[in-house]
């Protein structure tokens, strides 16, 4: 339940920020969304087993699922890559990161 609430909170913030004008806030929203995706992946492996997946454990009933961890690792790094790209986009638009103004100018 705690994980579910965390995911919900992250999505809440993410969507709110994505609906903002400034590119930076949108990026921050996506950072939150990325967290949400990761926590969902973690949740998908089950959160009742939390022991470290190392070695060759005897009793599997308490060991955390390693597969989602691998997924999340991949996802984190991918999200990091895109975040950098977006950050650069945020400073190559206008003099500021005001996407709305940029859009307006483009449409004129």
């Amino acid at each position: 339940m705690t994980v579910a609430i965390t995911a919900g909170l992250l999505v809440f913030g993410a969507v709110y920020l994505m609906m903002k004008r400034e590119m930076l806030r949108v990026i921050l929203g996506f950072i939150l969304l990325g967290h949400a995706g990761n926590i969902v992946l973690m949740a998908a492996g089950g959160t009742s087993r939390r022991d470290l997946p190392y070695g060759s454990p005897e009793d599997l009933s308490t060991i955390a699922d390693p597969l989602p961890q691998a997924f999340v690792l991949t996802a984190i790094v991918i999200a990091f890559s895109i975040t950098i790209v977006m950050l650069v986009l945020a400073v190559t638009g206008n003099d500021d990161d005001d996407t709305a103004a940029a859009a307006k100018e483009v449409q004129e």
């Binding site: 890559s81 790209v85 986009l89 206008n94 100018e105 483009v106």
Partner: protein, 573 residues
């Protein structure tokens, strides 16, 4: 072909990309490396098609791990067809990019190769998380390609478009990731073979799968999540728009087809949602197209509309429907690219794609005009081009499936499609190039210093001159639907462009000074026209010789209708 070689579709382009980055800026090496790799890939994919003539599938678990552990790469007829057509498009668009100067940097070839690796991986993989990864492998180079421009000549529009493009795609892939998470949470696997049919029996898997499908639908730009594509695609260069139109949305569509066929087993309970949404997509897309004012935004909206058609095939989920849908998909990739490339060639050479700013291109550039017109008619579904076969088979399938409303929608949309194609034809290709010459002469009289001191090879008009030219152009065509607003809008652009003119002037692919008249520009050479002509020829060929592709599509459709071969291949049994 041994299934163990399937990963090479990803590995070889990736390796080549890495090597080209290491080699550095050697144009010829880059061109040869890029085209050579792509041609090899297409050749290999053709071999796959030959292998699957009578159906079947091959699969390989990467690294030879046991079934369920390894990431499986699978190929069947559908995959092979997509591999061929995406590869072909990449070649054609790269050719255009090289001809138009867009590829004149160290980044282009590696980025396109990585994009290819991503596309191929996304087409081949039967693992949903791996699909997510490959979608990202497609996307990252696309972000780079989107903004690619000559040094410091990137436009604000490009950046604004890229922002939209990146954010939307990131949203899409994150939603997809969350969907994959839910699938793993409910089914305990992300392997398509193990997931086969689960969504039909387990509602929790179904809703998880629905999240993934929804993400793919955003990527494919299905109504109501369609607008981003129309807004973003025209913002980049023509070559890249063409490339993306053929690859990105289409891989998403492929994903939808594949996932619905395998994971949902074609569950008939949800098909009505698809039919409704895809019909809406057709209508909204085509209406958007007919209202637009530049060639590429018209074409971008068309893409949305056409995607509705393509996806209707899967929403029918009959053999006829899937066959028609797959045929439509392949046809559309080629024709859309052709349209983007022919109008792109005009845009590259004449500096604008705005309706009403150009005229008489048909007389000056008959080859491009014919190529455009063939593709436009094909898009509108007129015989004897591939678009007719696509539309006809789809209508046939819809009638067979009792979706009469969809048929009505398709027919109406065809008409509006034609209307909007005529808009481009009328606004760009038709007319007299002489009349614009007159305008420019009068401009030259008014504004003596027409060239800028910095790089004075292209004449540049003052804002007022440009606005006047635009206004008089539209004034002359009284019969054009909205002369007043056209004049207003083009005038607006002209005034706005003036300050940025110095930034964009020398780049051959950006909007150059719009007052430069048609007659003064050098003609479009064969190198630049070639891609459009080539693809137009293909659509004609696919119309006349439709049977070949129809047969292959039917084989592919059978593989979707009965996924046994696919699933067995993935399961290694």
């Amino acid at each position: 072909m041994s299934a163990a070689l399937l990963p090479l579709f990803v590995a070889v382009p990736l390796m080549m990309a890495a090597l080209l980055v290491i080699v550095g800026d050697r144009r010829v090496v880059h061109a040869v490396g890029l085209l050579g790799t792509m041609i090899t890939a297409v050749g290999a994919a053709v071999l796959l098609i030959l292998e699957f003539r009578s159906g079947g599938a091959i699969a390989h678990g990467i690294s030879s791990w046991p079934f369920g552990i390894a990431i499986p790469f699978v190929a069947d007829m559908f995959t092979a067809l997509m591999l061929v057509v995406t590869g072909l498009l990449t070649i054609v668009c790269s050719w255009f990019a090289i001809a138009s100067g867009r590829a004149a940097n160290v980044y282009f070839a590696p980025l396109v190769l990585v994009l290819t690796a991503g596309v191929n991986g996304a087409l081949l993989t039967a693992d949903l998380f791996n699909l997510f990864v490959f979608i990202e492998v497609m996307l990252l180079p696309s972000y780079g390609l989107f903004v690619l421009a000559a040094r410091h000549k990137g436009t604000l529009q490009q950046v604004a478009g890229a922002r939209l493009y990146v954010t939307l795609n990131l949203l899409t892939s994150t939603v997809f990731l969350i969907g994959v998470g839910f699938i793993y949470g409910t089914a305990g696997t992300v392997n398509m073979g193990e997931l086969a049919g689960l969504a039909k029996t387990d509602p929790t898997v179904a809703i998880s799968g629905a999240v993934c499908l929804f993400a793919l639908a955003i990527k494919a730009s299905v109504v109501p999540v369609h607008g981003w594509l129309a807004a973003a695609y025209p913002a980049t260069s023509p070559a890249i728009t063409a490339l993306f139109s053929g690859l990105h949305t289409k891989v998403a569509i492929y994903g939808i087809y594949r996932m619905y066929a395998v994971v949902f087993d074609g569950d008939s309970r949800w098909l009505w949602i698809g039919v409704t949404l895809f019909c809406l997509t057709m209508v909204i897309g085509v209406l958007g197209a007919v209202g637009e004012k530049t060639t590429r935004s018209i074409l971008a909206f068309h893409m949305i509309s056409q995607i509705g058609y393509i996806l209707l095939g899967v929403a029918l989920f009959t053999l006829a429907g899937l066959t028609a849908g797959i045929f439509y998909l392949l046809h559309h990739m080629i024709v859309k690219a052709s349209l983007f490339l022919s109008t792109g060639a005009v845009e590259v050479r004449y500096g604008t794609g705005e309706i009403g700013k150009l005229s008489g291109i048909a007389k000056r550039e008959p080859v491009i005009a014919v190529a455009f017109f063939i593709a436009a008619l094909s898009l509108a579904g007129l015989p004897p081009f591939s678009g007719f076969v696509a539309k006809f088979t789809l209508i046939l399938a819809s009638v067979k499936a009792g979706q009469i409303a969809a048929v009505v929608v398709m027919l109406l949309v065809s008409l509006v499609t034609l209307l909007s194609m005529l808009k481009i034809w009328n606004g760009v290709f038709w007319g007299d190039s002489k009349s614009s010459e007159k305008v420019s002469t009068s401009n030259a009289d008014d504004d003596a210093p027409a060239t800028s001191p910095a790089d004075g090879n292209l004449p540049e008009a003052s804002p007022t001159g440009t606005a006047a030219a635009a206004a008089s152009t539209s004034g002359r065509k009284q019969s054009v639907a909205e002369p007043a607003s056209a004049a207003q809008s083009s005038g607006g652009v002209a005034t706005k462009e003036a300050p940025t003119a110095s930034a964009t002037r020398a780049d051959p692919e950006t909007k150059a000074s719009s007052a430069t008249t048609v007659a003064e520009r050098p003609r479009i050479g064969m190198a630049l026209a070639g891609p459009a002509v080539f693809t137009a020829a293909i659509t004609l060929g696919l119309g006349l010789g439709a049977e070949l592709l129809l047969g292959l599509s039917a084989t592919a459709a059978e593989g979707l209708l009965d996924t046994t071969a696919y699933v067995q291949a993935v399961m290694g049994s």
